[in-house]
Subunit: 399 residues, 2 copies
């Protein structure tokens, strides 16, 4: 199949491109390297070194024996996007080219407006370009489990049948996102659902859990083919942050009680699931939603697992409780479905602790890179207050 | 009270400003006259002459005896918006400064992207400015009944209690909007709900039906104080279009079967409801939703009423059935609630036909202005096809 990856230089995109060519697919992609800029802006860096795009593309050709067809095209540059897609004629488009950070979107008006413009208009442009030049392609759109929030009922995959005042209908499950970033994913969901219904486009909307991990098998051992691994408050996801903190002997920065429960999955399973989705497209006009995660854990449970994985590789990991800069429920019901991908063949690769051990071993050689940025390990972007570093607290005060 | 009206030069804004000063409120507002430009762009004009902002403001002072505090400020110019609100310190902000047309948003990629940027980022900027300079103000945000679409169950006012797999929660009612314009209203709803929850802002989100009518009492008989009245496919709402068509002897352009049912209300009741909302603010941190319409009618029923009102003023009105350029259900269940405003004192002013008679009498002197634009009375913007004029069809073919 011909697969177009928007955001191919990113954490997921760079890994997915390699996995797909290993399976015999032809891959093209775009990027304008904003992720590299944003991480610099928040005064951080990737724990694993990230090579220049030219070095990456050269290594890709050398190791995988095929070209990654690449153009530096912004999704907001509609004519250029349209032309690229018209020429490549993808069977599938995987849209990973969004600003992916909740705290970054909450910094101030400028960052919120940038996030919503970049994500919503970028995705809207993909929909229009599909309509105009590749209406049969399958859009694999990356949403987030965060779209649903934490309702007091089970979370189905996108839609639910309800009875209300004696009548029935199948309706989109209500979304209650909790940052201007998460809200862009909801906006994209609504725009995409409409485009499928009105124009007969086909799309799988992936409500993905929090991804963690340093590698997938397709990367082999060439460091030029490794993906990035962020550990700052904006672009580092929970487990990735915890593992980097463990490696430099910083307390794991657990927010509040740490009882917030979320869905998680390793990078290799995210790539596995995206590949299953690409290789099993929906019907023309079909809009379907997959909840994509391996298991739900509380943040505290994950911190305990990182402690356990750390002990196995000789690290003495301390867990710290910090003020929660996010406005969110600490105690809540959480029971999302995740059957669609399992029905299509998804089998989790490892248990979580095994994956964490691999991560810690990959990160240990880069201890100095993380140590150098040690001061950004504690968050200072608040949902409802001016910026200031969160303080460590006694776990008792969060009860 | 001090009321800020964003989009004060528009159809609703200009009427609301006059009604509010008549009731003793102080009114400020902004506008950058985009509505005037858009209507020109689609090669139409207002049936009632629209005076320049300077003439309007002079007449306002002369007739109402007070100034309308006005600045030409774009909501996308955040520093200017913030400064205006910081200086005026409104008790209420009525946000009417959006691009309000479904067909305009469906013309092409450029119009869709403009609509979503203008509406979503404009509203987002209002939320940030409120947080920063007037966090106690009440945001009266204009949504649309079109956010809900046409589900097969009753439509509550914003939220509903459901039981799902044996558990209960009160959740936002699912939105299924049917154009990139209507989708902006859904995006705004989601952003506003989040801002109220996270920052403690207060907002009433008005899901308004389709408004029609030429005047409210506060305008008196000075033509400089009349509001605009559009009749083109983009900016003319159903009844306004029908009345203008009736006046020039053009068949009423009913789309498809005309069985689509929607909520409608006269301009004077829209202004009455907005005023009730402003004068009865929610609690700090409260986000509430009002469905705002007088009654639901099918488009065919409304066309019959325009025919009836026409006969009363000596017009022989013909009803035409045209291909429907919109992709929408022609036959559907529709039963929305509208109790909140009634509980606060809303009483419909006239019956619909009485209002239509007033409209036709107001429009008859402007027959030549409409006649001149006769060729734009039939729509040519399609939801899923290239632009071309819709053809008149036999009502039998729509069955």
């Amino acid at each position: 199949m011909k697969v177009f990856i928007a955001g191919v230089d990113g954490y997921l995109g760079w890994a997915l491109a390699q996995h797909l060519v290993k399976r015999g697919h032809t891959v093209a992609g775009n990027d304008i390297f904003l992720r590299r800029e944003w991480v610099e802006e928040v005064e951080s860096t990737s724990a694993t070194p990230v090579y220049s795009i030219d070095e990456r593309l050269a290594a890709f050709r050398e190791v995988h024996g095929v070209d990654l067809i690449f153009r530096e095209v912004d999704l907001l540059d509609y004519p250029a996007l349209r032309e690229f897609l018209a020429e490549f004629q993808p069977d599938a488009i995987v849209h990973l080219a969004e600003m992916p950070s909740a705290p970054y979107s909450m910094i101030d008006q400028k960052h919120a407006a940038f996030t919503q413009t970049n994500n919503v208009i970028g995705s809207l442009n993909v929909l229009w370009a599909m309509r105009e030049v590749c209406p049969d392609a399958h859009l694999v759109k990356l949403g987030t489990m965060g779209e649903y929030g934490t309702p007091n009922v089970d979370i189905p995959e996108g839609f639910f049948e309800i009875e209300y005042r004696g009548r029935k209908d199948v309706l989109p499950f209500p979304r209650q996102a909790n940052s201007f970033y998460h809200l862009t994913k909801v906006h994209d969901t609504n725009n995409t659902m409409f485009a499928c219904k009105t124009w007969g486009l086909r799309s799988t909307d992936i409500m993905q859990g929090v991804v963690f991990g340093t590698r997938i098998d397709a990367m082999g051992d060439d460091p030029r083919l490794f993906t990035r691994l962020d550990f700052d408050q904006c672009f580092g996801t929970a487990v990735n942050r915890f593992c980097c903190q463990a490696v430099v002997g910083h307390p794991l920065t657990l927010f509040g009680s740490g009882h917030m429960r979320r869905g998680f999955l390793p990078l290799r399973d995210s790539i596995q699931c995206l590949t299953i989705t690409i290789e099993n497209p929906p019907q023309k006009g079909e809009y379907r939603v997959f909840n994509q995660f391996e298991e739900t854990y509380t943040i505290e449970e994950l911190a305990q697992k990182v402690k356990e994985a750390g002990a196995a590789v000789g690290l003495d990991v301390e867990i710290g409780y910090y003020e929660n800069p996010r406005t969110e429920k600490h105690e809540h019901y959480y029971n999302p479905d995740r059957q669609h991908l399992i029905d299509l063949g998804y089998v989790p690769t490892h248990d979580v602790v095994a994956e964490m051990k691999i991560m810690l071993q990959d990160l240990l050689p880069h201890r100095d890179r993380i140590m150098e940025k040690r001061e950004i390990l504690v968050p200072d972007i608040w949902w409802d207050r001016e910026r200031h570093r969160a303080q460590q607290i006694s776990p008792e005060t969060t009860k």
